[in-house]
Amino acid sequence: MIAAEGVSLTFQTADGPVHALKDVDLTIGKGEFVSFIGPSGCGKTTFLRTIAALETPSAGQISVNGMGADDARRARAYGYVFQAPGLYPWRTISGNISLPLEIMGFPRADRVERIARVLDLVELSGFGGKFPWQLSGGMQQRASIARALAFDADILLMDEPFGALDEIVRDRLNEALLELWRKTGKTIGFVTHSIPEAVYLSTRIVVMSPRPGRITRVIDSPLPRDRPLEIRDTPEFIRIAQEVREGLREGHSYD
Amino acid sequence: MKRALPVLTVITAIILAWYAAAVVLNAPWARDQANRSGTTLTLPALLRDTMTQERPVLPAPHQVAKGLWDGVAGQKITSKRSLVWHGWITLSATLAGFAVGSLAGILLAVGIVHSRVIDLSVMPWAIASQTVPILAIAPMVIVVFASAGITGLVPKAMISAWLSFFPVLVGMVKGLRTPDAMQMDLMRSWNASQAQVFWRLRLPSALPYLFASLKVAVAAALVGTIVGELPAGATAGLGARLLSGSYYGQTVQIWAALFAAAALAAGLIAIIGAIERVTLRRMGLAR
């Protein structure tokens, strides 16, 4: 579904060139949940943005659903969830979810049906008429996820969506996200700083390291699809987390 | 260069448009004259004529420039036709009023921040006064002072003082109140006196706001002085020049006086800006 071949990206800054990505090769298949983990500057967000055609690679190819990244963007192939909810304060929650649907030209009846459906998916039914500032941070982020699901894109790209929330809310949202993934079968690319989050959520974990931004290790997770939160205390989970940490040390992330 | 080029381009475009407008607006008069003398007007002759009329509807840029030059360098500084002399009259009243008004504004702001009673009594009026066109008072102030025998700089300075007072007051109050609860708590934990909190925390935080409102205040003071020079009988100052130019149809004089006033405003704001940069840099507040 998403294929990256030899992708490199160099930024020209005032202090000289910054190699945000170097020779990244990765294929993400349909229905996978892939996490990207690494320290600041390892290129995980940059890579996600390249898939979303928000950045253009200096070298290499990206194809999404068989098209180039920008064509995929225009074909509305993915939903993007940012770190901040980015909801428009002058629209209600329903209005915010309706926004991409309006831009993409869905008819009114269709929009109403979709809004109700995704609000239900993220358990925010009944909050459609509220304004974003009337909701807590966790609820706002759930609304942002609902918005990304509304137009039935196959792919969901999430850039540290739970980074600004406290741990307890985070755990709940992790569970909810997994439930959502199981129900909808989407392909998810997820950027995170947190090792437990990466191991808990993904089918595959991509460990990256900085200077230059590159993939150090790809770990396939043997954990079952159905995962209660308690799985985080099992030996298998801890072993995978250890592997991730080794990958980070390999990439000099702790130096 | 990156910043200068767009500005220069826009200015050039404005000057070109100005020339074109001058031709268009002055053409009727040129045609009129040509009809009277029975001659026909060719295009080059039309262009030449519209740029050199004595009382044009719209003076061409070079005419204004010449009027400015004549007014500044072409007269003795003490002559009644000298823009430097008129400019100085206006400037002195502006500066006097600006100084008094700003000082009063700063002092009252300090009072407002430290006394709840003054705050609650005065601030609503200060904020409401910003919606009142105070400048309408100008002719009255001039005449009232004149009937008491006071003419010249003082009445105009009073108007300017009144106009600079409110922006400085409101800006200074806003600035003195910027330190947040965390900063004030820290000061309390060190048992700082009110004076220490003022000089070490409030005043430095207020400086950026103070300079911003000083710029607004000086522009307002200048406008106040110019309007104060309008009432009939005024013969000195840029406002008087504007007025006499409009009475006698001397358009070039009007434009030259206007540009002189603009230069004065720009100069005053630039000076305050320079003082601001130096002060803020020394305090480490420069961005």
Partner: protein
């Protein structure tokens, strides 16, 4: 000991302390300048009431205090005029001004229509519409923005009322030239604010709307224009006073026999100060109401902005 006393006791003590000081000041003043004594008495009475009210924190006292302060000033004005027999041609007492106001209502209304409604309001609306239009047009050209904004900031600081004689020459004596002055005066501040508003969307919001494949016009209408509203209204509020000033002062340069500026300059010439003050009262009321209306509209349009939610 003071910490065990309740709030009402502290309030009373605070007020009594002040009252004692006030009475002392009053006696001293009466001895030094007897004619000033009534004035000082009234001032201290009003101030004491405010000192007492200031201890409370509710909306009623918060409105009462500035009103009492204003009323005290008016009372002092009236008393000073009578006690010192100030000639009415220099400073009329508030009672005279009020009777001039009531007695001249048709005249004042005619002036109001001419200056405020025809001159200031139409100029403000035209200037604002033009500024918003230009801001949107130059939105796609950072080059033009970099060129126009410094000039805009420069022009906004100039004594623009000076162009009034020129515009009277072009548009004639009637309200059109005054509206033209107002247009020039309000154009640049609103333009500067609107451009800032159109730039105010953060990178995240712009990226977000790009991921939905939005066109320029869609992003403009659905994201950037609503986000620009707080900035636009900031400019609109500032320019309400500028519009009034422009219209009134432009009339000092020439006007038909109507209009507030005209009335002020002729009444000044006739030393009819009460009428002048009455016109100023109309101007003050017009200014506050105009600003108030814009602020109300702002509240409805930008209800979502943090500054409106406090």
């Amino acid at each position: 000991m003071t910490h065990i006393w309740g709030e009402p006791t502290k309030r009373m003590l605070g007020t009594l302390k002040f009252l004692a000081w006030a009475v002392g000041a009053l006696v001293a003043a009466a001895l030094v300048a007897p004619s000033l004594a009534p004035l000082i008495l009234v001032w201290l009475a009003g101030w004491t009431v405010n000192v007492w009210l200031a201890h409370y924190g509710n909306p009623i006292t918060r409105t009462a205090i500035p009103l009492i302060f204003g009323a005290t000033l008016l009372a002092l004005w009236e008393m000073a005029c009578r006690i010192f027999a100030i000639p009415a041609v220099i400073l009329p007492p508030p009672s005279r001004i009020w009777s001039a106001f009531i007695g001249n209502l048709p005249l004042l209304w005619g002036d109001f229509v001419q200056t405020i409604l025809k001159g200031a309001l139409s100029g403000w609306l035209i200037g604002a519409a033009l500024a918003v239009a230009v801001a949107i047009v130059i939105d796609r050209s950072p080059f033009l923005q970099r060129g126009l904004l410094p000039i805009g900031n420069f022009v906004a600081a100039l004594p623009i009322v000076g162009i009034a004689p020129i515009l009277v020459m072009w548009f004639g004596f009637d309200w059109q030239s005054k509206a033209a002055v107002v247009v020039v005066m309000v154009f640049f501040p609103i333009l500067v604010n609107m451009v800032a508003g159109l730039k105010a969307t953060d990178a995240l919001a712009r990226d977000q709307i790009a991921t939905w494949g939005a066109r320029y016009s869609q992003a403009l209408v659905k994201l950037r224009l609503p986000a620009a509203m707080p900035f636009l209204f900031n400019g609109l509020k500032i320019t309400t006073t500028l519009a009034l000033i422009g219209a009134i002062v432009a009339e000092f340069f020439g006007s038909p026999t109507r209009g507030m500026g005209f009335r002020i300059s002729t009444a000044v010439g006739q030393l009819n100060m009460a009428l002048v003050w009455a016109e100023i009262l109309v101007a003050a009321l017009a200014g506050t109401v105009f600003y108030g209306i814009v602020a109300l509209v702002e509240k409805r349009v930008t209800f979502w902005h943090p500054s409106q939610r406090q």
